[in-house]
């Protein structure tokens, strides 16, 4: 591979509250190769969503204070609004967590997909009159032409009987259907990179499985890269090639899904996996991580996980963490890897759920 599709380096995104600064993303670096599905895992406050929004340049009200984001070599941090708009319309799309609020209730779902198609065709020409439903003034002949394409997209994301649903408004769709519609809107611009920010968190498990299956099919049929943000390691293991584990605004560990799940090297990844109820016998005490997520106010010295880490010593709270190569592309940001047990343990699956 010559050049990564997306390259994030030393990204710092801060939020100014009225008298303090929240360091939401604090020196994050990673690459996404073409056609790769990368999972970003972290608990709330880990900075995973802010990272995603920074890439789409939707970081407001936060501010990117340092670092670079390169998409096919083009620096997004310095790009003009116009470039960003073009990229959003043609190269990168994003799907958000809550399908209840991300669709505009006053337009039909198909209109919103058409809008995305039109933006993709011609990002610099979007006459307002097309959106206003004023007789004689608005001319939508080319909207009608897009009909077939909309039906195609809707069936691609698994919306049953798309022809009948062309005139449906978002409130007539269930949560799962709306998330599919969001996906269709995102795909209309034929993105090379799809950023999905907790796309299944608000959905039921059976619907979640459907959406994940569609994501996985799409990736195969469209050869696009997907950045999947989630708090659920299980979701990651179902669809991702590579996993980035985040904590306290920093990357803790990266590796292939298999490496992260079966031989995690970073103490945080290990602790996180141990927390899964599946890892403990029924009715036994579950493993937990003591302490609290750091509040990320002001500068953070050393490793953000140090206060909760079982292997931490004085060195962990003073210097910044070195990124250690653990072989085969697996990397962990930890200064005490020699103290941390190296699990060449067997994969432990969910018992009972075959």
């Amino acid at each position: 591979m010559t050049e990564p599709l997306l390259s994030v380096e030393n990204l710092h995104t801060h939020f100014e509250t009225h008298d303090r600064t929240v360091h939401a993303v604090n020196g994050v670096s990673f690459d996404i190769e073409p056609g790769e599905v990368v999972g970003i895992v972290g608990e709330s406050g880990s900075g995973k969503s802010v990272t995603a929004r920074s890439i789409m340049r939707l970081e407001e009200p936060g501010k990117i204070v340092d670092g670079s984001i390169r998409y096919r070599g083009e620096a997004l941090t310095e790009a003009t609004d116009e470039t960003i708009r073009r990229l959003r319309g043609q190269d990168m799309s994003m799907v958000f967590q809550d399908p209840m609020t991300t669709l505009n209730p006053v337009f039909t779902v198909s209109e919103q997909i058409v809008e995305s198609l039109k933006v993709h065709d011609n990002p610099d020409h979007q006459p307002l009159r097309e959106y206003l439903r004023i007789p004689f003034l608005h001319d939508r002949t080319d909207w009608a032409e897009k009909r077939d394409r909309v039906v195609e997209l809707m069936s691609e994301v698994g919306i049953p009987n798309p022809e009948e649903r062309l005139d449906a408004y978002p409130h007539e769709f269930s949560g799962g259907m709306r998330q599919r519609a969001m996906l269709a809107i995102a795909l209309a611009s034929e993105p090379d990179l799809l950023i999905a920010d907790e796309p299944t968190t608000a959905l039921d498990v059976t619907i979640q499985a459907q959406i994940l299956q569609i994501l996985s099919d799409l990736r195969a049929s469209r050869d696009m890269s997907v950045m999947l943000i989630t708090h659920d390691i299980g979701v990651v293991s179902e669809v991702c090639d590579r996993v980035i584990v985040m904590y306290g605004g920093q990357v803790m560990e990266t590796g292939t899904t298999e490496q992260i799940l079966t031989q995690p090297r970073h103490p945080y990844t290990q602790a996180l996996l141990d927390c899964m109820p599946q890892q403990t016998e029924r009715k036994e005490q579950l493993a937990t991580i003591e302490g609290q997520v750091p509040n990320q106010l002001g500068d953070i010295e050393g490793c953000p996980f140090a206060s909760r880490c079982a292997y931490a010593d004085a060195a962990c709270t003073s210097a910044s963490m070195p990124v250690c190569d653990c072989g085969d592309g697996q990397e962990a940001a930890c200064c005490a890897l020699d103290r941390v047990p190296d699990p060449t343990r067997e994969a432990v699956g969910v018992e009972g759920s075959r």
Binding site: S237, Q278, I289, G349
Partner: protein, 368 residues
């Protein structure tokens, strides 16, 4: 006394039928004595829909059956997990038990006494059922300190100030919080700490039953475990009976003795937790279990069985078996006839093919 008035509670004969009961099952049977603390007898709850005035005048009212014909009993000292997707009626069930709703039909009994809604219940019965909601930050008044919040049920029960103070100290220790949390507000606490406060409030009046409505769903993985640990510990120490409502199957599996699976307001399957997970006797249970994201890296979503379609609307539930619209095994009988409860092992399932579903081989065939 009332020995399972409803047939559908777990096999009343106990060990008799479960000849080959595993150790775990015996343990379950041992920890849960047969005395029913909560008993639901054919309980239904329907809500009137917002019909137009004209419809109302003409009598064309529609209603939503959030819970229909549920019979269930929870035994002393056990944890009954209720699982299901949104719209399955599991939260309505919790609200019926706590008394926020009154059943449209059927009878709910606590300790053998039929009870109505919370406003009709005597004070000692109210004190006997504690509730923990999903989100501590919304179930505790944001303008109340932790101390005030925990004291509230005690004051309502007429405790004196001194007794209150003593009890609060005791409760704080029980939920592993310290004195300095007393003057804090919930928005100053972390999610886990706030949930501890709401647990302390729920057990303040020494209830025998705790209704847990998605107690860990809003929490991070690392905190979830500590709250579940706490819940298991105080259940042992205080001899509590839990009704645990959750969509998080792995959490339910970990703490529940028995599990009830709900779908569109009806019970699909009820059985001992281990058995239900190992040998589900209802195709819906099967599908639900298959959909849990797996931490096994060798599993991929392509290979997972994925249930098609969506949960039907409870306003107009399907005829026959409510699951037939999505069930890969559905046959003509499923569309027309409501299945009976068929006893399988220590539990029961409401599927025409319960026996064969429980038999693994055939089911897996059906999925493929």
């Amino acid at each position: 006394m009332s020995v399972d008035r409803s047939e559908n509670a777990t096999a009343s004969g106990g060990g008799a039928e479960a000849g080959d009961a595993t150790d775990a099952q015996l343990n379950d049977a041992g920890s849960a004595t047969r005395e029913a603390v909560i008993e639901l007898d054919n309980v239904s709850k329907s809500f009137a829909m917002n019909d137009s005035l004209l419809d109302r005048l003409l009598g064309n009212t529609t209603s939503l059956d959030a819970v229909s014909n549920v019979s269930l009993s929870v035994h002393r000292g056990e944890t009954l997990g209720v699982v299901g997707e949104s719209g399955s009626g599991k939260s309505t069930l919790a609200n019926l038990v706590t008394g926020l709703y009154t059943p449209t039909e059927g009878v709910i009994s606590l300790d053998g006494t039929p009870v109505g809604g919370a406003t009709d219940r005597p004070a000692d019965l109210l004190a006997d059922v504690g509730v923990v909601f999903q989100n501590a930050s919304s179930s505790i008044n944001p303008r109340m300190t932790v101390g005030d919040a925990i004291a509230e049920p005690l004051i309502t029960q007429g405790w004196s100030a001194d007794d209150c103070e003593e009890r609060i100290a005791e409760l704080l220790e029980l939920v592993e919080l310290s004195e300095h949390h007393l003057d804090r507000y919930t928005h100053e606490l972390s999610g886990g700490q706030a949930q501890r406060v709401s647990i302390a409030r729920a057990i303040a009046t020494e209830p025998s039953v705790l209704v847990l409505d998605e107690p860990v769903s809003a929490l991070d993985v690392s905190v979830k475990g500590s709250i579940l640990n706490l819940l298991m510990r105080i259940q042992d120490e205080l001899d509590l009976t839990y009704l645990l409502i959750s969509h998080d199957l792995s959490a339910v599996k970990h703490v529940a003795d028995r599990i009830a699976v709900m779908y569109v307001g009806e019970l699909m399957e009820v059985g001992p937790a281990e058995e239900l997970f190992d040998r589900p006797a209802h195709p819906y249970t099967e599908a639900l279990l298959a959909a849990i994201p797996n931490v096994d890296p060798s599993s991929t979503i392509e290979e997972t069985f994925v249930l098609e379609g969506e949960v039907p609307s409870p306003v107009d539930p399907p005829s026959g078996c409510v699951f037939h619209t999505r069930c890969p095994m559905a046959e003509e009988t499923c569309r027309t006839t409501v299945p009976d409860q068929i006893e399988v092992g220590d539990g029961w399932s409401r599927c025409h093919f319960a026996e064969s579903v429980a038999d693994d081989e055939e089911v897996t065939d059906a999925w493929q």
